[in-house]
């Protein structure tokens, strides 16, 4: 389907994954998850209230009890969805935000685990989002477990991963197996390309569908209201997006 930008597919996919949420939090510097959450909010308007908190933002942060309040709200069961990236993500949905190689003297050091070692356990719908889809990122086994994909029976674990979204496709996660299943492939990509770029084993249907694209009404919401809202917090990303739209129209 032409006329839809790759980033719009990602945003729309995130909005689909957020169906039914009441409160979603987005980390700093996460324009696509933020846009997906804003689209969800716009789509649900009049039916249910979707609240969105963007960490580190003054504008889109309604918390008033310091940086602990996000984690508290998760502990209270009020936070329905959150996004995690990761320097490495493996086939059991273990996430590594700390570094590659031996710990602590990592050969490559990333910033650190942030709140993942808590939020991955407590937020019911964690969406793994990493645009880079490569064997460097999607590995057989992470070098350091910032947060595990699943927990043994008896461990308090109301939360966990539901999906992994990359620039190439969407996987769902089955915690009973545990493992990923390829759910859909984004336009312009193929199942074979995904297999080549993925370092862990996963299930895949015989024929993997294409990732659904936003219809005209959704697209107009996305390019109108959502783009405007997003521009307040992510002006650079919004400008890029507008440039791409102009190129598409040309």
């Amino acid at each position: 389907m032409t006329g839809v930008l790759p980033r719009e597919t990602l945003i729309f996919t995130i909005a689909r994954l957020l169906e039914g949420v009441r409160l979603v939090a987005v980390g700093a510097a996460s324009p696509i998850p933020a846009a997906g959450s804003m689209l969800r909010r716009a789509l649900d308007e009049g039916q249910r209230q979707v609240r969105l908190s963007v960490l580190g933002s003054v504008e889109h942060n309604f918390f008033t009890n310091g940086s602990a309040e996000l984690f508290d709200s998760a502990g209270q069961g009020r936070l329905d969805a959150f996004f995690l990236g990761g320097g490495q993500i493996d086939g059991q949905a273990n996430v590594n935000l700390v570094g590659a190689g031996d710990y602590p003297q990592s050969s490559v050091r990333w910033p650190g685990s942030f709140g993942s070692a808590y939020l991955y356990f407590t937020v019911p719908r964690v969406i793994l989002f990493r645009e880079e889809h490569s064997r460097r990122v999607l590995v057989e086994k992470v070098d350091f477990i910032s947060a595990p994909g699943t927990s043994p029976k008896g461990v308090y674990r109301p939360g966990g991963p539901v999906a992994l979204l990359t620039s190439k496709g969407l996987f769902t996660f089955d915690k009973t197996r545990p493992g990923f299943t390829l759910d859909s492939v984004h336009p312009g990509h193929t199942p074979a390309e995904i297999a080549e770029a993925t370092g862990f084993a996963y299930d895949a249907p015989a024929a993997t569908p294409n990732t659904p694209q936003p219809g005209p009404a959704t697209l107009s919401l996305l390019r109108g209201r959502v783009l405007t809202e997003l521009a307040e917090t992510y002006p650079a990303f919004a400008a890029d997006w507008r440039r791409d739209l102009a190129a598409l129209a040309a």
Binding site: G56, V58, Q105, G112, G115, A117, S146
Partner: protein
Amino acid sequence: MQADLRAMATRIRPGMRIALPVDYAGVSMAMTRPLIEHGAGDLDLLCVPTGGLQVDQLIGAGLVRGVETSAVSLGEAGGAPRFNQAVKDGAIRLRDATCPAIHAGLMAAQKGSPFMPMRGLIGTDVLRHRDDWRVIDNPFAPGGDPVVLIPAIHPDVAIFHAPMADRFGNVWIGRRRELAAMAYASTEALVTVERIVEHNLLADEMTAAGTLPALYVTAIAAAPRGAWPYGLWGEYGTETDELIRYARAARTEAGFAEYMAQEVPA
């Protein structure tokens, strides 16, 4: 360099544990160079709950023995170069944590409790490398149910920047309650502010709501734009270009030294 900032820095003694706030909460960048000039080393930094430019500069200056943090980065400007180098070199003792664990440790100190329990963490390598944390079976559950206990964190000094203080020693921290949490848990709190006002912040309920009482504040100095190049909520934004300039310069020890030798714009 202001005399009062220099005087505040002299309260730091070698080996102290210093609590520093997350980049968007109010980092007292104005205190960074005075701390380096003062030179008290072997510091253990506690990032509440993550660190950035100030942590990187203190590490680069060789003042840091250990870092407890949930992350260190320069945000949009990328990784923290002096921190990353020190990690690779094994030059600092690293205690990787997760944000709510640092909040929990401070809360234990605030409450005078020996520890706080915290969900999550079971099965992580974060927990596996923390021999100072404990796992017990939740005594309220019929059986099993492991839960992690985080011991109280008692920093010697908290250092942060806020919009205003009054001349009675009260500091307005607004909704950035982690600054209060840091001060409650710490023996001393050193605070820089944009401005010092004449009226008592506790005198009316509106300003009192966001005020950290003088009881918890050891010293205050005015330092306009004292969070720069970080922003201060409600006051001014982050100058990302400057963070990028630093990130480039500090890739090497020499580049770091050269950057730090430059004057800070007033």
